[in-house]
């Protein structure tokens, strides 16, 4: 069955769901974990993940390398990432186009980078280093952003295209991040996706976002915040369906990291993503 080899939908693995997943072994394509949650020496995080890894493919998503740090990536952190990757043998390793550490201080957020030649050269060098230490290609994710910098030299899509070409990395396309950034920075998400270097995409993220209104302030408008604390929005689903129709099935993750719901709610979101991937498979088979 070729269908078995077709890219599937997966879920972000949350501690709240681990026992149920091991007991019920739901029909989910794969799970994704944050690498930094598995850098402790031992204990329940590792014992659960080992058992889940024995049942499912795993995607390893880093949130702490700070690939965009001008002062270099966090010393020692890449070696720890490699230890986790070697232990759990994920089918994909990903990180972010962002920075989070400055002079040793870790700010625990994915902070924005100015898109210019100097940043591109720095990030390319760091991605090279990560790929060479891990001995594999990684995916870099487009960030959710709230502001831009004075004097930028290129669009994010152009930055990512050149980064992928020069470093050989793949891209993780977070459609919710596109929608969040587009609303906050005033661009058209469909145009962004049309310009995105889709040939490098190895994984898709979908998540929910919060909408803040600021009616009181002069010229105030809505601001979207990438909260991962609710269901995926209709706009994100529409863009996902359109993109999959264009590209064919791609591994698609549902991220739900705060106000984590009962497992059936998350499972239903994953099933919805899976149905989008399957619909495309069906329409392509008919077309052939």
């Amino acid at each position: 069955m070729t269908a078995d080899r077709s890219p599937r939908a997966g879920a972000g693995l949350k501690p709240e769901h681990q026992r149920h997943i091991l007991d019920a072994q739901p029909d989910i394509g794969w799970f994704e974990v944050h690498a930094e949650n598995y850098m402790g020496a031992g204990g329940p995080p590792h014992s659960f993940l080992e058992r889940i890894r024995a049942l499912y493919p795993l995607s390893l998503h880093g949130v702490g390398l700070s690939i965009g740090s001008a002062g270099g990536m966090t010393p020692g952190h890449l070696a720890r990432l490699k230890t986790v990757a070697d232990r759990y043998e994920p089918f994909v390793v990903s990180e972010h186009l962002a920075w989070s550490t400055h002079e040793g201080v870790f700010l625990n957020d994915l902070l924005p980078l100015p898109y210019d030649e100097a940043t591109l050269a720095l990030v390319t060098r760091h991605v090279d280093e990560v790929q060479s230490v891990l001995g594999r290609r990684i995916l870099i994710e487009n960030p959710s952003t709230y502001l831009r910098f004075e004097g930028e030299e290129m669009a994010e899509t152009e930055f990512l295209r050149t980064l992928a070409r020069q470093s050989g990395c793949g891209l993780l396309l977070d459609i919710n991040n596109v929608v969040v950034s587009a609303a906050n920075l005033g661009f058209d998400p469909a145009a962004y996706l049309a310009a995105f270097p889709v040939e490098h995409v190895g994984e898709i993220h979908l998540a929910g976002h919060a909408v803040l209104h600021d009616g009181a302030a002069p010229g105030g408008e809505r601001l979207l915040v990438d909260t991962h604390d609710r269901a995926v929005s209709d706009e994100v689903w529409d863009l996902h369906r359109h993109l999959i129709g264009r590209l064919g099935p791609l591994p698609t993750l549902i991220e739900w990291d705060a106000d984590v719901p009962a497992w059936p709610v998350l499972e239903a979101e994953v099933a919805r993503a899976q149905s989008v991937l399957r619909q495309d498979g069906v329409s392509r088979a008919r077309a052939a």
Binding site: E36, A70, N108, D109, Y146, D214
Partner: protein
């Protein structure tokens, strides 16, 4: 275009300082203000770190109340931001910070409660090891007992306090209704262990803390209990240690 290192320095400062000041490099946009946009990042940083401390120190939070805890956590974050991208490592210095945090001086046991909560957290992530039973000790010839060295589990930790920290922790985490803990409760020493999955807290018998600290430092049993008071109950201490799954090995004879 400002140099990236400049941007990152001003961002780091502006994200952590109490008063909002947007870095100059942030561009103007029609509509929502620069302040409002930059504040999203400030909120992400602060809220996520307060959440990490809340997860680590739920009893401290309960003892001081939500509003006080959040204000106190923000002072700690400003003075001691994380130095590792592994968030599980954040909060090791919280107990020491509380010692010098004047507004919480009314609760002198607070730093030791924080130490106990940190020990629980560290035990959760500590290396795995299989505990051995007390039968292994019983199998030793009596003349070998004095020089025997007990290997403590990597998760095992002692928290010694002049305050009844185990009672305070227990009633604020386990009990259906919080019991008042009077000053007559006296000093308590906690042994934190994690034999397999679950982190456990044991109240140690008097005098056992010093002896166990000595065992943990690799000294043989005879030497570890040499300084103990005359009424020290060795069988009880060993029963607690082995019963708690705190011992993973037994080395016979003096070290090389």
């Amino acid at each position: 275009m400002r140099a990236l290192a400049d941007i990152q320095r001003t961002f780091t400062h502006a994200l952590l300082q109490p008063v909002l000041r947007v870095p100059d490099a942030v561009g103007e946009r029609a509509g929502t203000s620069r302040e409002r946009r930059f504040r999203v990042y400030r909120n992400n940083v602060k809220a996520s770190l307060v959440a990490a401390l809340t997860a680590r120190f739920p009893v401290v939070r309960r003892l001081v109340g939500d509003e006080f805890f959040e204000a106190m956590a923000l002072v700690f974050i400003g003075q001691h931001p994380p130095l590792s991208p592994v968030l599980a490592e954040y909060g090791a210095g919280f107990a020491r910070f509380l010692e010098g945090f004047e507004p919480a001086a009314d609760l002198p046991y607070l730093p030791d409660v924080a130490r106990l909560e940190w020990a629980r957290h560290a035990a959760y992530h500590a290396a795995d090891a299989a505990p051995i039973g007390i039968d292994r000790l019983a199998a030793l010839a009596p003349e070998d007992l004095h020089d025997a060295r007990l290997v403590l589990h990597p998760a095992a930790a002692l928290v010694d306090s002049p305050w009844p920290i185990v009672s305070i922790w227990t009633t604020n985490s386990v009990d259906e209704e919080v019991r008042p803990i009077g000053p007559d409760h006296g000093a308590e020493t906690a042994l934190v262990t994690r034999p397999r999955h679950d982190v456990l807290i044991h109240r140690l018998p008097a005098g056992a803390g010093v002896a166990i600290a000595s065992l943990q430092a690799g000294r043989p049993l005879g030497e570890a209990i040499a300084g103990a008071p005359a009424d020290f109950d060795l069988p009880h201490m060993l029963a607690v240690l082995f019963g708690a799954g705190a011992i993973t090995g037994l080395l016979k004879g003096a070290p090389e």
